[in-house]
Symmetry: C2
Subunit: 461 residues, 2 copies
């Protein structure tokens, strides 16, 4: 059962040790999170660690255990798996590295380990990974920041520990939290499709973010993505490792591999949302986990800068969104009290007027608009004559906190085009409920991704 990986009754850590590293940090983390009474340490040397007894072998552990975490040198892993199997433990996370990722010799060792695991019917995550995190019960086989254990609705599937950690670190900065995370490593047994299917059924998970270097089983992945996407958005960052291999010759000057085009088609066909870069995966995760899906592709842009509006509009049109002309009601509301030079079109450039809140609210209430991008443009120098930056924000952009009242009606994002100090100030007011971007193009692409996913859902329903 995959559930045991996230909700074990008893845990044995094979390879606990008193020198810095996973074998030292993980027992401490588990103890700190309240798992001290269900965590058993194993190291042939015996002794004590963090005030916990260290058993000399798996067989010696007295109580019932269903999950083993293995951090021993690669060569010893096959025999450790045998001991684990003999002990009746069902689930194993192999964190040790030195298997297929280092070449043929490692691959042979991994095959041997796989044979041992199969013999005892073990379910295995890894090797070459850092295992799992479950925020609901604060169970983790990896040292993460305590803040990262706050419960959220994002599930993470990563190949490597560094990648998983990096997502957690970046989510943290944005006030986003995860439901569960898993790093799959070399996927000797458990693969991404199984995990997707598990997260589909996991009630704590609403959005799934995945990093993929290649499918363990392509057909299964297509089938799984199709089924999962019906219920929850799957955000994927895929690297084309195959082409990288080919690129590693001085003569190669080509473009991405044909294989990548196959994946491109797969994601489009299955409703998965492909992120084009690491930062985009984080942005999509933020937007999909905070914004409702739009009814259609009609975008309105309200902006304090014509240039920024134009950049966003370009990105929108290229991504298949439309920018309808403002309705009579929007024109009327936006024009009230506006200076003569202000045109009400789309993008709606309010310039340095104080019409931003009126225009924004009118667009949010307009039934002909499916999503709104609000671009706050303010040269930092303007602030130096203002006693209070909060006052300045209020004067030009209204009560940002109050924007949250719209949050379930339709998706909307803020893009702040200014000095980082103002960006941080506005983030404090609005995040995590309203994501703040600093690039008009990136914000637009995130809204377009929401719409494409919604279109997939509507077609299928």
């Amino acid at each position: 059962m995959l559930r045991t990986f996230f909700e074990p009754q008893g845990i044995v850590i094979v390879g606990a040790r008193s020198t810095p590293g996973f074998g030292f940090g993980m027992p401490l983390t588990l103890k700190e999170q309240g798992y001290g009474d269900r965590t058993y340490l194993v190291n042939p040397k015996g002794g004590e660690l963090h005030g916990m007894r260290v058993y000399k072998s798996v067989a010696e552990v007295p109580d019932s255990v269903d999950l083993a975490v293995v951090i021993v040198p690669a060569q010893v892993v096959p025999q450790v798996l045998t001991q684990i199997g003999q002990r009746g433990i069902t689930n194993v996370i192999i964190q040790s590295a030195g298997f297929s990722e280092i070449g043929p010799q490692g691959k042979a060792l991994q095959d041997e380990a796989q044979k041992a695991a199969k013999k005892y019917g073990l379910r295995v995550i890894g090797p070459n990974c850092v295992g799992v995190v479950n925020t609901a019960n604060r169970f983790t086989t990896s040292e993460v920041m305590p803040e990262a254990l706050n419960p959220g609705s994002l599930a993470v599937i990563a190949q490597s520990g560094v990648f998983g950690h990096n997502l957690l670190d970046r989510f943290n900065e944005k006030g986003l939290f995860i439901s569960k995370a898993v790093t799959l490593g070399n996927r000797m047994d458990v693969n991404e499709s199984e995990m997707l299917d598990y997260f589909k059924r996991d009630s704590a998970t609403e959005v799934i973010a995945m990093y993929l270097e290649g499918a363990a089983d392509g057909r299964l992945l297509v089938k799984t993505l199709k089924s999962v996407s019906q219920e929850k958005p799957v955000l994927v960052l895929k690297s084309g490792r195959t082409s990288v291999g080919r690129a590693a010759t001085a003569s190669h000057t080509g473009s991405l591999s044909g294989e990548d085009k196959v994946y491109e088609g797969m994601f489009a066909q299955t409703g998965a949302t492909r992120a084009r870069r690491l930062t985009e995966l984080v942005e999509f995760a933020q937007v999909f986990s905070t914004q409702p899906l739009p009814n259609g592709n009609r975008l309105a842009i309200v902006t304090g800068s014509g240039s920024m509006g134009a950049l966003a509009a370009d990105a929108a049109v290229a991504a298949g969104l439309v920018l309808p002309s403002p309705s009579k009601t929007v024109i009327k509301k936006a024009k009230e009290g506006a200076p003569a030079w202000m045109n009400v079109s789309n993008p709606l450039d309010v310039g340095p007027s104080q019409q931003f809140p009126a225009a924004f609210n009118a667009l949010m209430e307009d039934p002909g608009i499916d999503m709104v991008l609000a671009i706050i443009a303010m040269p930092f120098a303007v602030m130096r004559y203002n006693r209070s930056e909060d006052h300045l924000i209020n004067q030009f952009f209204g009560n940002l906190d109050g924007m949250k009242k719209h949050k379930l009606n339709k998706p909307f994002l803020i893009c702040v085009v200014s000095h980082n100090n103002l960006v941080e100030l506005i983030k404090k007011e609005t995040e995590p409920e309203i994501p703040v971007f600093t690039s008009p193009e990136a914000a637009t692409l995130a809204l377009a991704a929401l719409w494409r996913y919604q279109r997939f859902r509507q077609r299928k329903e």
Copy 2:
């Protein structure tokens, strides 16, 4: 003479006023920067502002003046230009808005103003702009942060004030400084080609960053870009305003305008470097103004994370870079003291070993490598057992400050994949000399842009 815009002998501000706005802030800024004795204020009301006398008309100003800055309501601009012309002033910056940007009525007014300007042979920047900044003499017609007046080597050409300010704000964050900046507004007279040509000959300028909504004169722009690119890189962010106009109808679902493809070809043919988004323009500016040009397209990636290396390698191959296999020397140096699991290939994944500095230095010294991307990957949680983060950085990545010794040999960038706190810590060590990215793909694209520009230069020489 365009030079007068940046180095005026005497300045008159027509439309100085005692209420907040440009007419209030600019006189104060000029006074603070030491221009008080050469700045004359004009407002029909007369009186005093910031301790300076306010003349009732341009004609009343007693001393020699060669630059007028106009901030009066649009309707009055034509007659003010006549007064300026009659007074013998040669250069004018019109900051007032309400001209062609608001429609046919404003266009008529702009035509009238243009006629008045032509009659007296005035050179005009604007209308609808904030004028210029020159850091060499700290002259500015726009309120900017005092820090933004530190001299640097980047010249900025922008259409709107907000856009120009935003670049200055973002450069500031990265420790980058400008030589000169100009916002062109509606380009009634002075256009981007003239400014490009001026910056080509400006000894303080090494790199030019430009935002363009459309060429004032396409043929002239092609000719100018070709000539300027021979000597200095021109970085361009172009928005397709035409297509935005067409997009502003609910029925439009198309892609970018055909016009945009024409610009795409123009930039490729003339050696201009096109940025795909606002953030990329800032990134390119940072990389072009701090890094030497590479001899070729051979990239080496050293990384603490295989996944991040794969993402960077994908982006590199797609952008036309090659990743050569490591030379024997590199293999030897990187392997010294390395753990058994470490493979030396390209990307060179050092994992959690301490081989990063050895690998990096070997690659920087290898004649078969033209540029290096160094990816620092560190989960933030790792830091909590470390008394000093500096010590941790040193232990894994060596002396970052010492990396600067390589800076003139070949281009290299750092990408930090971690929590924002570590990113900031590393930036403090390395920027502005070594740019720090947080996205492996973005860092790679910046290196590829350097190479493409170098290829253009080599072809022409």
